[in-house]
Amino acid sequence: MTAASGAVAPAEPERARVPAAARAVVLVAGNPNSGKSTLFNALTGSDVKVSNYPGVTVTRTTAVVELDGIGPVDLVDLPGTYSLTARSQDEQVAVDAVLGRAGMRPDAVLIVADATALGRALYLAGEIIDTGARVVIALNMVDEARAQRLAIDEARLATDLGVPVVPIVARARQGLDQLRQALADALNTPTQVPRTVTLPPLAERDVASLAAVVRRELPGLGHATRAWTTWALLSIDDAPPDELVSVPAAVRTAAHQIRRAAMRDGRNLDLEIIGARYERVDRMVSQAVRPPDRPAPRWTDRIDAVLTHRVAGILVFGAVMLALFQALFSWSEPAIALIERLVALAQGGVSAVLPAGPLRDLLVDGVIAGVGNVIVFVPQIALLFLFIGVMEDAGYLARVAFVIDRVMGAVGLHGKSFVPMLSGFSCAVPAVMATRTLENRTDRLLTMMVLPLMSCSARLPIYVLIIATVFGPAARIGGFISAGAVALFAMYALSVTAALTAAAVLRRTVLTGPRPTLLLELPPYRWPVASVLARTTWRQVRSFLVDAGTIILALTIVMWALLNFPKHSDPGADVGAQVRASVAGRIGHLMEPALEPLGLDWRVGIGILGAFSAREVFVSTLGIVFDISDADETNQPLREKLGAAAKADGTRLFTPASGLALMVFFVLACQCMSTVAVVRRESGSWRWPLFMFGYQTVLAYVSALVVYQVGKALGFGA
C-alpha cells in the first residue's frame, strides 16, 4: 500500500511536496453519530487510507487535506467515543493517540461536536482540551439545532473553552472553508499550558500525588501529564486484569492505593472527576445556549411512536429484517452466479492455452479458484454493508437493537448482535464483518464466536443432498408430513438453539468480564447520504479483499495441494483415483476410526476435508470420490450412488441415522476456512479463530456421535 502520499489532494503544483514524516497530524475525534465520517469525507478527497492501529483491530482511517499556508496535513479519524476512559486495549489506542503516547503526538485535534447534544460533546471536548493539544471544535448539525430552535452563541462558547468553535453543516458542506482556516490558524499558534478543569480539593490532592508518580515513570508527557493522570485514575480498574497496556506498574499500584483510600473515606473519585467536568459543561451550556421558548415538533418522536410501538414496531422490525434476508439470499444471487461463470471462464481459458501439468492445475484449481473463492463473497458483503449503512445513517439500526435487545440480552448478547446473527443465515463472512457495529470488544467477540453456528446458505446443498439420499421424497412422518422437511426444519432449529446456547455458555465461561449491558444512543432519524454510503461500503469490501482475501487465497491453494499431491502412480488415473491417493485421501483414511462411530467412512472424510475450502465443495468432492463428475446436490446419479454405497463391512453407508449425524456435524462444525480467515482478521489474532474452530469441532463431533448412536439404537441405522 502506498503511504498517504498517494492521496489525491488538490495540491498547488508550485508548492513543494512535504514529506509524510514532516506533515502535521490532525486527529478527528467526536461522539458516535456526531457526523465525524461525513465531515471526514467532506474535507478529504476520495483517496482514503484505511489501516489498523498496530497490534489491535481498531481501524485507522487517514487522508490528506490541504490547508492554506500550511500545505498538506494528515487527517486521522479516531473511533467515535463518549470519553477518553478506556476499558480495553482497543479503546486505549484512541486515548494514547490523543495523549500523544502512540508515538504520534497530534499537532492538533479537530473535535466534531453535535450541536443538538452539546453537553455530551463538550464533556469529551473538555477531556481533550485538558491534554494541552491544539483544539478546534467543529460545531456540527447546526441545521438541526436551528430546527429545534436552539440558539447557540458560538463566540461565547469559544471564549469559555479557550479554543475556536466553527459552526458547520457537514452534510451540506457548509462552513468547511472557515473550518480549514481555523485549523491552519491553530497549527500556526504555539501550544499552551492547558486551562484544566478544577476538581474538588480532595480530588485535586489525589491527582497531585498520582501525578508525582506519573512524572517519574513517564517523563515525556509534558503538558499532558495531568490529563494522563486523571485518565489513569478513571480507567485503571480496581480488579485487574484490565487490558490496558503500557501503564507502568508503579502507576497502577499508586492509583489503586489512592482509589482505595478515597473509598475508605466514603468518597467516589469517579464521581468527583466526572461531576466536576459536567459542572463546567453545564455552566458553559447555560451561558451559550438559549433553549427554545416553545419546543419544536420532533419528527423523531412521531416516527418512533410507530417504529418502536408495541405492535407496529415489531411488525416493521420483522418486515425490515425479512427484506435484509431476502437481499442477502436472492439479490446477491445473480452477481454470485456471474462471478462463478467468470471464474469458470478464466479457468477454461487458462486450461485451453496451457499444457496439462502441475502448473496448469495450480493456476486453474489453486490460484483462479482461490481468487474466485474470495470475490464470490463481495456481493453479499457489499449488500449487507449497504443495508447496514442505510439503517445506521437513517437511525434505524439503533432501534433494531432497542426492539430486540430483550431477546439477545437473555443469552448475554447485545441488541446490536442481532443483525450480524441474522446475516449469518446467509453467510458467516459478511456477518462477522458486520460485528463492527458493536462497540464493546467482549460483545463483539462473543457475537463472532457463535455466529458461525447460524446455518449459512452454503450448508443448504449439503442438507438437500443428504436428505434426498436417506429419506427420499416418499418418506412421511405421521402419514403426511414429509420426513425431509422435518429434518431440514430441525437443522435450522438446531442451528439457532446452538448459537444462543453457546452465547450463554461462553458469556459465563470464556468471555466473562463486567456484567454485559446496553448503553445505546438513539439518534434522530435522518436521510442517509448516498455518496457517503457508497464510500463506506467500498471501504469494507476493500478491507475484506486485502486482509481476509489473501488468507482465503492461500488456504485455497493449500487445500488444492492436499487434494492433488502426491500424484497417483498411474498418470492416467481418473480424478477419483487421484483424490483417493492424495494427502487428503490419506487423511480421510486416517480419520476413519473417528468417523466410524458416526456411521461414516473415509470417503465422507475426504468430503469433509474438501468442504473446508467452501462448504458447497462437499457435494462436488463427494462426487469426485464417488466418480461422478460435475455433481450438484440435485444430481440423481450421485444420490443413487450415495444411497447404494456400502461400507467396508457391507452395510449401507447412508442411513437415516448416519445421514442425520452428518447433517448435525455440518450444522455445528466450523467447516469453513473463509470464516476462520475473517475472524482472524477481525479479532486481530489467531487465538480466537482457533478457539472457535476447536469448540465447534468438538461440539459437532460429540453431537453427531450422540445422534448416530441413539439413532442406531432406535433402529434407524440400517
Partner: protein, 81 residues
Amino acid sequence: MSLPIRSLATLPLGVHAVVRAVHSSRAIARRLMELGLVPGTRVQVTRVAPLGDPLELHVRNYALSIRRADALSIEIDEPLS
C-alpha cells in the same frame, strides 16, 4: 447493595426527575455518568421497548437507551411536577 428508595426504573413515562446517585457497578456507573447521568441532571423516561425492556431516556437533549436492570440502580429525587 440495597435498592435505592426511588429508582429511575419506577419513574412513570413522561415524568421528569433529577438524578440523585448512580449505584451501579463501577464500570457501568462511570459510563452512565460520562454519558451525562451525573447527580443533579434532569432525566425523563420517554418510552419502553416493545418487549418491555430496555427503556428510552431523555437526558441532556438526547435519547439514551438503557436496560431496566441498570435503571434500577439509578436513584432519583422525587419527580418534578
